[in-house]
Symmetry: C2
Subunit: 108 residues, 2 copies
Amino acid sequence: MILEIAEFNIPTDRAADFESAMIELKTVIGSSPGYWGHTIQRSLETPERYVLLVRWTSLEAHEAGFRGSHAFQAWKARLGAHRDGAVVEHFATILEHEWAFSVSSLTN
Amino acid sequence: MILEIAEFNIPTDRAADFESAMIELKTVIGSSPGYWGHTIQRSLETPERYVLLVRWTSLEAHEAGFRGSHAFQAWKARLGAHRDGAVVEHFATILEHEWAFSVSSLTN
């Protein structure tokens, strides 16, 4: 399993539109093969900073599968200038411990 | 709930000792009040980059509770120079979707 971390810097006057676009991502990404959940988080110390974390079964599921899809291209266009300066990185798990919680209580 | 993300840059010749120290963290952090799971991840694109993600019930649980504890001070000393240049940031959840998995299959 691979963890994708994408970092965004969003001026606060664009935060509402960015968050709307990120909420729309759920529909786009949720049915992608190899997708295994995601979360969007906003920094407490630097509110302009957001991170998107996505679990994938493999790097290929993200790079070739999702990014090669028409649905992603359409969502990328929707995201528009919010993507400027975004950084995307992939990680492999060294250790996980009690890293689970109730889905139903948190899913939007 | 708060997500702590700590970033580390570890020269590859120190990776084995860093990973050992991070594995030891499990015992230290696992019993801290307000702790709700963590994972350690290593970058595929830049193997020197590691991220530690920890879920806390509140910012205070991390900042005042865990960081104020004797157990953390001892582990910090164990981590030693691996901490040089580390960055710690806290995040609030905007959205989570299917962000869960089997604990038993992944816990070390």
